[in-house]
Symmetry: C2
Subunit: 630 residues, 2 copies
């Protein structure tokens, strides 16, 4: 078969591929992960590239505007190699996969909740230094019993176990270290396992990682298990995105040959990058990392554990399992100490995963006498309502709009994202970006502000339609759509205008309607009134900023007293961190997941009515939004 | 390097080896395991061979008699290849390693104790067929929970777990089998683990293996876990014998490069041969074998589990561990279903291993109100004395004489072994052999009879010395030793006279003295009299036959009423079998091993006196042996 060389710039990576290979595949082969939320089937228009030299064949995509086309922009997935090529990759095509820089760490840290400060300190992994008495003729108990006896004085636990593999050279180790050793122990259910024995006193160096494995982003935190301190946080875009931005596309891809393997490798790369990066930055030895807790939605957990996820997308949408036993770090493939242990937050169903259970743990909903509600607005919108005695949960098909996905200039809450917007009466637009960088796109909080401000300025009506009568260079008709320019090319970092189109507004409207109506449907189900809710926790990837006032104004959240709301950031990550620091907290999740009753919104008769009624800004029933009336 | 071809007959195996290779190593390379109890250092004189053609260099061993030397017999370990060779291996040099034929199975089966019939049936591995309801929108619990729910109705257990690896394709399996599946579950501590899920109803085929891993022999039994039936038994000589007959030699060998690996491979070959052989014979699919229980002494367990055993032989003789967690069949390397589980009988100390704990379980000593005693006469002699409330155990340095090891014509209780002897006044010898074959050697029971009869016929005195005054062709002086011919060359199967030498008698006398005095020392320790012992269980590799009368006559066993004694055969194997059939029995071993107090005979002041006093037939104090006085 004829082969050609493709050179990618600015990475300067070369790759040999057979004639007929598409450039998206060629880029992946070169180790360059392009944005391709549709999974490379020409639907999302994100894998834009410029072929600068060489012979190729490309379809003219309707997703590439006329001007772009003139500048040589084509979609990598629809461009076929027919000779040696030189390909330039514009920054924004990579954007989704660039490592998010240190400056944005704070945004993903989430709120360290008051609760967390008071949890019982009992980390998943403990290092316990013991000085054993050397055996004598009168005291010739085995090496292992000697360690058990010493541990029994220091830990409060009945059953200790040790895998046979950990015993192989224990005798030598004890004698070489003069019987002064550190036992690395992990809690698991009601028992304690010795992961390994280290010579000397290594108890000072005991680190762990908490992870939130999201469909769009993977967030990880390095924790000092001795001090509970967060040493660093990293967030990265889930590399599985190259195989599709949503879970459905990925599940379909997983059933292709090697598909599951590739998806698994992609997210493992994320995880290991974060581990490597944070341990490097903190100058921590990987071998001192023994404990990890992972929280994520059901599809992410299946892909992470290489479990066939195909039934998750087939009616009646049943996962293989919602609970996963701890596994060995090496078995999972995480690059920590290979003898480390990885624990997983349990889930409820396909739609209420371990990320939500972890969030419920983090906000304390399951321990309160009073009714509260958690809304996790991420790639979907999951809602849990309840008290310590009962909980009910639902997933709204909100889509990932508030994560910035599926919108013409949507992006995650990272450096360069527009997160605050003010529009004056004369339609001057004042923006705030994360990191005060030149804007690259708009994140969820930015869209909430933007919608609110567009409504207030009359740019859009209550139906979300752009007012055609406005005379402004900011309001215009593009190829297919009316659009509002938020930031002109001259100010933007991407060499193009940053806009919001009518399709984007429609998309956001459906999202906010789905979330709002899910909240109401849950309350209806248990015959409670929204005013009876004591506390509403809002979680999600909004970064550090979510304007509750504006969220209510557009009808995303019910019009309640503002102090009912608490924005808690990435609660999945917070719960994973708490579970890592406290085995007691981890065990609490076992109670939580069993106590949450899942409610299928699609089979709720009143949900559709609520949803349709919410397809206005803020709502068809303005009586529900007194604040927005003014 | 110059290489030569060595041909071994009658196996007709050829092997190429470098010049200077010794023939013991060449034989191992050709897959032929010769007897070599000293580990191939020219001390035991067992690896006798005849070089029939070719150039070699050999040392004249004092262990090869003149006549043998004339017939071309040399020791393989001391013979060096210097050209192409043809080597004949006499049968007895192989004897130790031949698979013991089906006809001898019965001998190793041991006694199926009354107790065993009444134990609670709860096998280590159960196969439970369940018909699950297919998931619907109203019932969308995960695949795994569906199985858990179905199992909860059939088993009585709180905590069920499943390794992540078992979930990978569970979804497909359930759907392809129309939700009719068999859960293969294993008991472990207080919980139950699902080893795997099989499609359809496979519950009828559920098999397991019980093993006794002895220093000299490895015995295995195939059990139908549904019916508790023993489907077959095999015994084989422990292939580790090529690296030394006793544990000390093997422990030393284990510290050489690759030594531990080779020792492990040798015993794994034993185990897998037995598994393969019995499943073949019973036409059972290896994949239907999921459960194994292993009992053995501490060194054997360390070697089996590839745990460095070196401290077992260094003062203060501390093993790495006495308890071993269940491990996966594939991890251990047993060739059953790779998802199977292997459990290990726990031990007490270096000297009281899992084989003894297993034996205590089997004989019921630990459940009796009345004081009883177990004496396991194998490669060493271990004694446990006690009631359900207390137990004390000791190991006598009896050596393997009663296993037929270390004696000029000793052999295990297998086909061709002389097991019964009668000597008339005119010194005619009447022998009984196992399988009624021509005699190959003498086993433990044979030696006991032989000593008793020689005493009665006046061939030996109470000091064990052969009476020089006897005029008989049976009594003669060999190169170094006086000896008594038990079976002449003309009757024997080995082409040589079968004799007992004075050194052998000395060896046996020390063994019997060690065992007898250990029994007395234990009783003294707890200030009990031998007459207070309600029951004495004799275990060991004596085959089906042990003459208690004769054992008392030579002073091996105390002179008590004969019905105090019960010969229970291989009690280690019996206990392993019981533990395989009943998890409750297995758990009982956890109590037993903790309740046995180990007594170090060498530090007991009165033990040495007792031992020395017992170095007569039957004893210096004839008052203790009224039966022997007549």
């Amino acid at each position: 078969m004829q082969e050609f060389t493709v050179k990618f710039t600015p990475q300067n990576k070369l790759v040999r591929v057979p004639k007929g290979t598409d450039l998206l595949s060629a880029a992946i082969k070169a180790g360059i992960v392009l944005a391709a939320s549709c999974g490379g089937v020409g639907l999302c228009g994100k894998c834009r590239i410029v072929v600068e030299k060489g012979t190729f064949k490309s379809e003219a995509s309707p997703l590439v505007g006329e001007e772009d086309r003139k500048n040589g922009i084509v979609l990598a997935c629809e461009t076929i190699v027919e000779g040696d090529l030189e390909v330039r990759i514009p920054k924004e095509s990579l954007g989704l996969h660039e490592k998010i820089s240190g400056a944005t760490e704070e945004f993903t840290k989430g709120v360290v909740l008051e609760k967390e400060k008071s949890i019982k300190y009992l980390p998943l992994v403990r290092k316990i230094y013991v000085e054993l008495t050397a055996p004598t003729a009168d005291n010739s108990t085995s090496d292992l019993e000697r360690i058990y006896d010493a541990l029994a004085e220091k830990i409060d636990h009945v059953h200790i176990s040790t895998k046979v593999a950990s015993l192989k050279h224990l005798d030598e180790l004890l004698r070489d270290s003069d019987y002064k050793v550190t036992a690395v122990i992990a809690y698991n259910d009601d028992s304690v396992e010795i992961l390994t024995i280290e010579p000397g006193d290594t108890s000072k160096a005991n680190f762990g990682f908490a992870f939130d494995i999201g469909t769009t982003t993977v967030a990880g935190q390095l924790i000092d298990l001795n001090t509970k301190n967060i040493l660093g946080t990293r967030i990265a875009f889930n590399k599985q995105a190259s195989y599709g931005s949503d879970v459905i596309t990925r599940i379909i891809y997983a059933s292709e040959p090697e598909g599951l393997k590739k998806l698994n490798e992609a997210v493992m790369e994320n995880i290991n990058d974060i581990i490597g990066d944070l341990t490097d930055a903190c100058k921590i030895n990987l071998s001192d990392v023994y404990g990890l807790v992972m929280a994520g939605n059901m599809t992410m957990m299946h892909l992470l554990l290489k479990i066939d996820p195909s039934n998750i997308r087939k009616s009646p949408y049943v996962p293989t399992s919602v609970v996963f036993q701890n596994i060995n770090a090496a078995e999972l493939g995480v690059e920590t100490n290979p003898k480390g242990t990885v624990a997983f937050a349990p889930g409820v169903t396909t739609y209420i995963g371990g990320d939500i259970v972890s969030g419920v743990l983090a906000c304390g909903l399951a321990e309160s006498d009073e009714m509260s509600l958690l809304a996790d607005i991420g790639t979907n919108g999951e809602i849990v309502l309840g008290t310590k005695d009962w909980m009910i949960g639902a997933a709204a098909s909100a889509g990932p709009a508030f994560e910035g996905s599926g919108l013409s200039h949507g992006m995650k809450a990272v450096r360069g994202a527009i997160e605050k917007v003010r529009i004056s009466k004369s339609l001057d637009v004042e923006i705030g970006t994360i990191g005060n960088d030149a804007p690259k796109g708009i994140c969820g909080s930015g869209y909430i502000d933007l919608l609110c401000q567009m409504l207030k300025a009359g740019v859009i009506g209550k139906d979300g339609r752009i007012n055609r009568d406005i005379k402004s260079k900011r309001v215009r008709k593009s190829d297919v759509n009316y659009e509002f320019v938020v930031s002109f090319k001259s100010e933007s970092a991407i060499g193009r205008d940053i806009v919001i189109q009518e399709d984007d507004i429609e998309n956001l409207k459906r999202s906010k309607a789905a979330i709002y109506s899910a909240i109401i449907a849950l309350l209806n189900k248990v015959e409670k009134n929204i005013n009876e809710v004591n506390k509403i926790y809002i979680a999600g990837g909004f970064g550090n900023y979510l304007n509750i006032e504006n969220s209510i104004f557009i009808g995303l959240l019910p019009d309640l007293k503002r102090d009912v709301y608490e924005f808690i950031g990435n609660s999945s990550l917070a719960g994973a961190r708490m579970s890592l620091i406290s085995h007691e907290a981890f065990e609490k999740m076992s109670t939580i997941y069993k106590n949450i009753t899942y409610m299928d919104l699609s089979s709720e008769p009143n949900y559709m009515d609520e949803y349709v009624a919410a397809l206005f800004f803020p709502h068809t029933d303005l009586g529900r939004f007194p604040s927005a009336r003014s």
